[in-house]
């Protein structure tokens, strides 16, 4: 039988499938999922693809969980179409799926809990316009070809920034790639032709749509001695980025609420298993963090959550 | 020879070929009639192989023309030459070790049936060719890589026979064949001759040449030095033509005084051979090991030298007993020349200098620093002393002629100043003049030079060439199926008794 895994243990087993496992962001989701698991007394299995951009692998992981017969799955799909098949299979096997983080073009899932990524990009753009007083030259470093959530942020940013007539986007077609090092190197290469003879940058603002590009760009700015001299809005938090914000090298970043995303994802799937009615779309919120609001107590859980409490 | 000069099957005229600065062929003529076995003779590096590779389409000549049955012939590829009926057995074995015997024999000529290769036909034709050479019992599905070197040579010959040809070129086919195999081969050559094939036979064994060939051509330094009918010339005359002077005594023999025991071996056994080998090797003597191919002499040497594991018995090299790595053996003052030059003996892509000094045990400073100039000087010295024919110490070893390669392998031992020399077929593929140089060298090493305070060495010589064993060695032991017989003074053996012992019919001690 397909449900033997859960039947023998008597306890519900919820598989949480992230896009990757090593970014800060996913650890927060993991912590949120574990938190929900402890509260509701279910077993949480955490398993993502080995390579962080590998759709094929994520499909395999889903298949393995369906074979194993877990009670429910919380999935952050790497692709809005490619994961349709596994989700449909899960449904056929009687396993409910809750989608988090990125959308899936399918009707087979129970609920979708995520950040409004387009809004996140839009908020970044608005902050940059505000900081630059509506005029200047800006660049944006993209993340990866075809990533749905970051593409939405990039779109949100570009469409909003286009509404400010005084601002020109000088470069927006370069990709930082999968790792910090690749983003770093690409940042250096993008900045090089935008440097004048005196070594100063000929641009005024920068937007980067995720953690690795933000950190890579920050390192490139620090290296070139530009950090703090240029308006820089990033996305996602990590200790180094918080430090940069406090020291003025980063002017603002947009954060999601990954912990609540993980928490809500697990909770929703359990509610569904218990026969309760759940909403089809749940917004987990985006917040702009600036030097002014960073010390507010409610920000602490967003940017420096105490993950170790939940992860071992 | 009964007819009056028939039209040649093929003729080569004014063939020239240079490799960079080396002029390998400088206008050579050669014509061979149907039904003629033509011996091509010459020193190492004279250009024999190069000439025949031109005929076989493996090398494009710089100048000259060829006629095949009176028609102009200029094969662009080996395939074209093969299709025109030229088959060649190359000097360096050229087999695909991962394929079975049958596929090696039929490679490039596989019969096809229903779009698939016709395995029965392939097997039959391979078997047929092997049977002609007396190897009907060799399983055609054996991987060539699993065969000993001698059997590989048989496979190589079988390949040339299997495809059917008008012209057959054999470049030193007997360098690692047994006497029985040679008899078989000559039988086959006789048959082919009577069928009107033209055969070119390259060999450094002039006795063989005398036996099989009708005519001969001598090459010297890429030029034709002479030719004629074999029957009308003595071996001495041919040698004179080859080297341009009279050869002194072939097997020199100084007074040798056996000294202390250098290798003491008792009941050496290894899987699967040797089974049981007991002998003593003393300083100042040359001990010969005779035996049929496959008897296990090579294995005995490899076991002694630490290249293969020992299964039983005791080895003592000087004061060191027990098994040791090749590195230890060098340090104990022993060195070995491998029978397999191409795959083990030499690093073909490295220079002469690197090959001679590969070990570097005493060329480097205590900190391991090496001066390239020093190595070059050392190499130059050995090139001079052994008369290695080369552009210089930097030449890649694989571009040397076979005999000169062998000298490089021996130079390595001399350079390391070893006291014990294990020589496995050291004169394979070497011309008469070089052979005599090597015999002289062996003699000098065994005798030592008291005047210059040079100690005599101990030499273990494996050879399948009986005259050489009888001429060079002080004592000879015969190995039969892995068991080594007692060593007796060379004067107590004749070729005949050696052969009997090697086939297991020898008189017990």
């Amino acid at each position: 039988g397909k449900r033997e895994g859960s039947a023998t243990s008597g306890k519900l087993t919820i598989a949480v499938v992230p896009k990757g496992t090593t970014h800060e962001f996913w650890r927060s989701i993991h912590a949120g999922a574990v938190k929900a698991g402890r509260e509701m007394n279910v077993e949480i299995i955490w398993k993502g693809p080995m390579r962080e951009d590998d759709r094929e692998q994520q499909i395999s992981v889903m298949e393995d969980f369906i074979s194993r017969g877990v009670s429910g799955i919380v999935l952050a799909p790497l692709d809005d179409i490619a994961l349709r098949g596994p989700v449909a299979n899960a449904r056929a096997a009687g396993i409910p799926v809750v989608i988090i983080d990125s959308d899936l073009k399918s009707d087979d899932y129970v609920s979708f809990a995520a950040t409004d990524n387009y809004l996140g990009g839009k908020m970044g753009a608005q902050e940059l316009i505000r900081l630059l007083h509506g005029k200047g030259r800006v660049i944006m470093l993209r993340v990866m070809e075809g990533g749905a959530s970051t593409t939405n942020r990039e779109r949100g940013f570009l469409e909003t920034i286009a509404e400010a007539p005084g601002i020109t986007v000088v470069s927006s077609n370069q990709y930082g790639g999968p790792t910090v090092e690749s983003a770093y190197r690409m940042s250096e290469n993008v900045l090089a032709p935008l440097t004048d003879k005196s070594g100063a940058l000929t641009i005024d603002g920068i937007f980067t749509p995720n953690e690795s590009t933000t950190f890579g760009m920050l390192r490139a700015l620090q290296d070139g001695g530009h950090a703090g001299k240029i308006t820089f809005v990033g996305f996602d938090a990590s200790p180094k980025l918080v430090e940069a914000l406090r020291s003025g090298q980063l002017n603002a970043f947009v954060v999601q609420n990954p912990m609540s995303m993980g928490y809500i994802g697990v909770k929703t799937v359990i509610s569904h298993l218990r026969g309760e009615k759940v909403e089809k779309r749940i917004d987990t919120g985006v917040t702009l963090v600036t030097p002014e609001n960073i010390n507010r107590p409610d920000m602490k859980d967003l940017i420096e959550p105490d993950l170790t409490r939940w992860l071992e | 020879m009964t007819q009056a000069t028939p039209a040649p099957r093929f003729a080569m005229r004014g063939i020239r070929k240079s490799f960079g600065a080396t002029a390998a062929l400088q206008g050579v003529d050669l014509a061979v009639a149907p039904g003629e076995v033509h011996a091509l003779i010459g020193e190492n590096g004279a250009g024999k192989s190069t000439l025949m590779k031109v005929l076989a389409g493996a090398i494009r000549p710089d100048a000259g023309e060829m006629l095949l049955d009176g028609q102009p012939f200029a094969p662009a590829t080996t395939q074209a030459a093969r299709e025109a009926g030229v088959a060649m057995i190359y000097q360096e074995l050229s087999l695909a070790p991962h394929l079975p015997v049958e596929d090696n024999i039929m490679l490039g000529m596989e019969p096809i049936r229903f779009g698939l290769r016709d395995r029965t036909a392939i097997r039959d034709r391979a078997h047929e060719a092997l049977a002609m050479l007396g190897y009907g019992s060799l399983e055609p599905r054996t991987r060539v890589g699993d065969l000993p070197i001698a059997t590989r040579q048989v496979v190589e010959i079988a390949r040339a026979l299997a495809v059917g040809c008008k012209i057959l070129v054999l470049d030193e086919p007997t360098s690692s064949l047994t006497l029985a195999d040679i008899d078989h081969l000559f039988g086959v050559l006789d048959t082919l001759r009577s069928k009107g094939h033209a055969i070119v036979y390259i060999s450094h064994f002039l006795e063989e040449v005398k036996r099989i060939a009708d005519k001969f051509t001598v090459l010297r330094d890429g030029q034709t030095a002479g030719s004629g009918a074999i029957a009308e010339h003595s071996i001495e005359e041919i040698v004179n033509l080859m080297i341009g002077r009279k050869l002194e005594q072939l097997y020199p023999r100084s007074t040798r005084t056996p000294g202390e025991v250098m290798i003491h071996a008792v009941g050496i056994g290894a899987a699967p051979k040797p089974v049981n080998a007991t002998f003593d090797l003393r300083r100042g003597e040359v001990l010969g090991l005779a035996g049929l191919v496959g008897a296990g002499r090579t294995e005995l040497l490899r076991t002694l030298f630490g290249l293969d594991p020992v299964a039983s018995g005791e080895i003592t090299v000087r004061v060191h007993s027990g098994w040791a790595t090749p590195r230890d053996r060098w340090q104990q003052g022993a060195g070995m020349v491998s029978e397999d030059r191409a795959t083990e003996g030499l690093a073909g892509s490295l220079s002469i200098a690197s090959n001679i000094t590969m070990n570097l045990s005493h060329d480097a400073s205590p900190l391991g620093i090496v001066h390239p100039r020093h190595i070059e000087t050392v190499a130059r010295e050995w090139i001079d002393r052994l008369g290695i024919r080369t552009r210089g110490p930097d030449q890649e070893v694989r571009t040397l002629s076979g005999g000169n390669q062998q000298k490089v392998a021996i130079a390595r031992l001399l350079h390391e100043k070893v006291d014990i020399l294990l020589l496995d077929e050291p004169t394979r593929g070497i011309d008469v003049a070089s052979k005599s140089q090597i015999y002289e060298l062996i003699d000098r090493l065994a005798a030592g030079d008291p005047e210059h305070d040079i100690q005599p060495r101990a030499i273990l010589l494996v050879s399948s060439y009986l005259p050489e064993l009888l001429g060079v060695c002080d004592r000879i032991a015969v190995m039969h199926r892995g068991t080594l017989g007692p060593a007796r003074p060379a004067s107590a053996w004749t070729e005949h008794t050696l052969l009997l012992a090697a086939t297991g019919q020898g008189t017990p001690a």
Binding site: K2, E4, G5, T21, I45, W46, K47, G48, M50, R51, D53, D54, R55, E56, I59, S60, E63, D64, F65, I66, S67, R68, G69, D79, I81, A82, R84, G85, N89, A92, M144, E145, G146 | T77, T78, Q79, R82, E83, Y90, S94, L95, A96, P97, H98, L99, D103, L107, G108, M109, E110, I112, L116, R117, R119, E139, R141, R143, D146, R159, A271
Partner: protein
């Protein structure tokens, strides 16, 4: 005795596979050895396995092909675009495979004409083909209408259990038999081994070395094309970033299965076993819920042990029996 050597050579990896499977069957959840999961493993192996068929030929011929992952990506993109253009699925699939074949032909052509080592040529085409895929797809995924292509590697629907595995897996199995047959029963197969074993000899014997190489790389491309179709079947979109780094998996499958990067050695059965070993480890670790990093370590250790045991067994046999 030597007759069975190619079978015997596959025996080592096969024993390894069985041991590893047994390990997970005992240590993992009960579901691991269920029929259902066997089907999953078969489906997950199909893509790498199919690409590895071509790679086996290339490696036996003494070459290597790093561009296989990029080719798979390009094929998914082309297939998706053809479907989107309204062509029937079979035409789209054939178009995809033809694309793979063409890329393979390019590899072969460059290797034989430029006399550049295959590592560099295919490193170049790895980049070129990947770039072409991205450019063609405008750096995005290409959506395609759902067709029967998606059934190729989909989990079996209820009531079709008689098929045991989906059509795509059967296709891969059929291709494996075909390639094994080519190696064993055709002149081409012998020539491939001869070239990998000793190129010089092959040339001297009149084997059309360059032509065979071009054929081998083209076949490699065609199999990457089929793998691309299977990949597309799983993704249902054309994805220019898919299968990056898959070349290492494919090459590893061949080498675990007894292939030698020096050429001359390798077998289809071994390659399939090699590909299965890797899927089983991955699937087993995933189902045991091991963290990614433990899974990576376990995979690494098992690969080395499996190959070491096999080589040790072979050496022992060689010295014992010869």
């Amino acid at each position: 005795m030597k007759r069975s050597s190619s079978l015997a050579q596959t025996l080592g990896p096969l024993i390894g596979l069985i041991l590893i499977f047994a390990l997970f069957a005992v240590a993992g959840p009960a579901s691991f050895s269920s029929l259902n999961n066997l089907e999953t493993i078969a489906r997950q192996t199909a893509i790498v396995g199919t690409a590895a068929l071509g790679m086996t030929l290339i490696i036996i011929a003494g070459g290597i092909d790093l561009s296989v992952g990029s080719m798979i990506a390009l094929v998914t993109v082309i297939t998706a675009a053809l479907l989107q253009a309204g062509l029937p699925p079979i035409v789209a699939a054939l178009g995809g495979i033809a694309t793979g074949l063409l890329c393979g032909f390019l590899n072969g052509y460059l290797v034989t004409r430029l006399k550049v080592v295959p590592f560099i040529v295919t490193l170049g085409t790895l980049l070129v083909v990947r770039g072409a895929a991205k450019g063609f797809a405008h750096e995005q995924k290409i959506d395609a209408p759902l067709t029967w292509l998606k059934e190729l590697l989909a989990a079996l629907p209820q009531g079709e259990g008689w098929r045991i595995v989906p059509w795509g897996v059967w296709l891969a199995i059929a291709l494996a038999f075909l390639v094994a047959g080519v190696l064993l029963y055709t002149r081409l197969g012998r020539h491939i081994i001869a070239i990998g074993s000793n190129e010089q000899t092959a040339r001297l014997c009149g084997v059309p070395v360059d032509r065979v190489k071009v054929i081998v790389y083209s076949l490699g491309g065609a199999f990457a094309g089929v793998a691309g179709i299977l990949q597309f079947s799983r993704l249902t979109v054309g994805d220019p970033t898919v299968a990056s780094g898959v070349e290492l998996d494919v090459i590893a499958a061949v080498v675990i299965g007894g292939g030698s990067l020096n050429g001359g050695e390798g077998s289809i059965a071994g390659t399939i076993v090699g590909a299965l070993i890797m899927t089983v480890i991955r699937s087993g670790c995933a189902q045991m819920g091991l963290p990614n990093w433990v899974q990576e370590m376990v995979t690494g250790v098992i690969i080395v042990i499996a190959v070491a045991l096999d080589r040790w067994r072979q050496r022992r046999k060689a010295s014992g029996a010869a």
